[in-house]
Amino acid sequence: MSVIEVKNLTKDYGNTKALDDISFILEPNKIYGLLGRNGAGKTTLLNFITNKIFPTKGDITIDGDRVFENDKALNTIFYMMEKNLYPEDLKVKEIFKWTKEYYTLFDMEYANNLANKFELNVNKRVKNLSTGYTSIFKAIVAMASNADIIIFDEPVLGLDANHRNMFYKELIANYSENPKTIIISTHLIEEVGAVLEEVIILRDGKLIEKKSVEELLASAYIITGEASKVDEYLKEKNYIGEETIGKFKAVTVLDSIYDKNEALAKELNLDFAKVELQKLFISLTSS
């Protein structure tokens, strides 16, 4: 059990707020997606959760214990950072070895198996790895760490389609075998959408959604048809993300899919479509 609680987290950099009063609770053993555009504050948030940097205000606890300089709480988390913090001169296998010193449940055999599958040469030094292989190497260390909470910040950075596919599959296999809390921070939502159980969406340092993917997708739908008719349908409705091509218009309606006005749509000759996570995300996060 490792419940993560973030309370009123705020970080000021001069006059700008990198994070603005963020609060949420993450239940154990779920796969979360931390979504947001570049600069929305995703990495900053993760850096706070793992006590890499210090907030202006607010608190983070794991099972009620503050993470601040707390080795016990920090050791329940493995954080794969986007940035490389590993000594450039060490070989991959040496980093496996050292990681096992600090994460005693680190599974060496599994790490080597994964390295084999991804064709990662464990005798290579970190500095000689390509961007893609640096991501792969860090992701492997994270997956093999056997920590209760694993955080991936942009895990598929520089990976080709095949490796991305392999990564998601290995991640699900890992999770199925050994349920744990997984947080994936990424901007590649289309690929990862189905893997996630819940999403946390940040925009300009603010938390704008924390919902299960299913709920989120059920909270909006797309209506399409002739522009003036669509406008008529939209009266007194909350909507975002308009797309117009000639006389045709498609609009994302922020309303439960169970409250669609089917009769009106039929009368106006309009069609419904399911909103995709990616599109909904773009609509929610663009100003």
């Binding site: 779920k30 796969i31 596919n165 998601y168 599959k169 699900i172 296999a173 999770y175 199925s176 075998e177 690929e191 959408g193 189905a194 893997v195 996630l196 159980e197 993917v213 299913e214 997708l217 419904f272 479509a273 399911k274 995709e276």
Partner: protein, 122 residues
């Protein structure tokens, strides 16, 4: 099994329908083992909770059953159950709306039957 992430249906419903299709087609025979939730979630890269939801729907309907420590199997009589379920759905989704539309357009029962006959020949 094919899942379509762009479809309007939630993934877990698609999954249970795809599984039913495969049972109807005989890809999964009655009393034979079907892929586990883990296998399904890995091969389709979907969240295990989502896959579990789809599979559990079929378990609840008595189409699949769990053998402890072994896995998930197709129940005896699953095929006819699915048939019956689909027939009901066919009635609800197509026949009722057909009758509804027909009454709006003043189409008689006889005409409907004729139309169906004509459609069959095509």
């Amino acid at each position: 099994m094919i899942l379509n992430f762009d479809s309007e249906k939630p993934i877990y419903i698609q999954l249970s329908e795809a599984m039913e299709d495969d049972i109807l087609k005989g890809i999964f025979e009655e009393e034979s083992q079907v892929p586990s939730t883990t296998e399904i979630s890995i091969s389709f890269k979907i969240n295990p909770a989502t896959a579990g939801k789809g599979i559990n729907m079929l378990v609840d309907e008595g189409i699949l059953y769990k053998k402890r420590g072994v896995g998930m199997f197709v129940s005896t009589g699953a095929k006819s159950k699915i048939h019956q379920k689909r027939k009901n759905a066919f009635y609800n989704n197509f026949i009722l709306s057909l009758m509804d539309e027909a009454s709006k357009l003043d189409i008689s029962m006889e005409e409907i039957v004729n139309m169906i006959e004509r459609g069959k020949r095509k």
